[in-house]
Symmetry: C2
Subunit: 191 residues, 2 copies
């Protein structure tokens, strides 16, 4: 198959479409959309997220040292895109604009976005220089999950979470067909 | 909506299902599946990946200081699961077992998996301690894309890449419905 070389790029498929929320005042939060993120550790659970220094919310994030990461479902796509497009300088109350509810976290001051089926409370462990940019390494202190999104085993079910997916061709997608079970379908190749 | 608290977890939706390949000998590669990964910087493009120290491939990764990250499409799901399930100690030639072709990279010694529509050549920039575990921060040196996966703008198209998605309920998914255009659909909420 013929390949083209594009040079160094960030063309990773898929990416999550996450909502980072940080307290900015009494009952208000700065909310921004982050796709450059992933789990990077399990003991304790840790996530890495790139959040540019020029955002309205960044000084609040730096001051608090914590924020929430909220996993939106596909029906929140318009609001997610709005939070990734419009600056908090122009709209300091995006939750209201999007029709979302802010509810208290348990271990940090920043609120959860109630409409998101999964919410993580995160504490910044370190800010890490990465070339001419930087990202946050955060520890996940708590996970909140909608009861309706929990499967029989007590963990979130992908089909019930219905997560929003971002792809670098500037698109949002939902999950499609379930292809198979992990740690299982590969057995077909075992000798 | 009633929420349940699960404590600290790694329940992020979605995750990528990536194939890390490292040269282990003349024409052979260790291949392992990684879902704990994400882009964390753009200047230059950088990725963070958690690769446990106990894997067969890890000493080769540490020795070379580089590896490839390959984005599989949904039709490779069985092989991807195999590479995440079976150790290289048991099968040091997983590419052959999976029916995949190893082709040379341009800037590092580790090979690309030709069947993957996107391949990244990555050089380890740093190994970063994260709690009781560690992850690699890598610089993306080159991106190879199947010509058939490129859209009109010369960048990969999600529908043509058809990326495999991992979700923490031990499932593989493909992309579903395209929900909308990023930096666009949110304008509906602009005042």
């Amino acid at each position: 198959m013929a390949k083209q070389q594009l040079g160094p790029t960030t063309q990773l498929f898929p990416m999550p479409a996450l909502l980072v929320a940080v307290r900015t005042g009494d009952g208000t939060a700065g909310i921004l959309t982050v796709a450059w993120a992933g789990i990077v550790g399990g003991q304790p659970p840790m996530m890495a997220l790139e959040i540019g220094g020029s955002h309205y919310s960044t000084p609040y994030i730096e001051q608090e040292g914590s924020f929430t990461v909220n996993v939106p479902s596909t029906d929140m796509a318009v609001g997610v895109d709005y939070c990734g497009t419009v600056s908090g300088t122009r709209d300091p109350n995006k939750a209201e604009t999007c029709g979302w509810t802010l509810t208290p976290a348990t271990q940090i001051v920043s609120p959860l976005i109630a409409e998101c089926p999964i919410n993580f409370e995160c504490r910044i462990e370190r800010k890490i220089e990465a070339g001419r940019a930087a990202f946050y390494l955060v520890e996940i202190l708590e996970t909140h999950v909608d009861e309706e999104a929990l499967g029989k085993d007590g963990s979130p079910s992908a089909s019930a979470v219905d997560p929003l997916i971002y792809t670098p061709d500037k698109s949002y997608y939902g999950l499609g067909e379930r292809i198979g079970e992990a740690w299982s379908i590969g057995k077909a190749l075992s000798k």
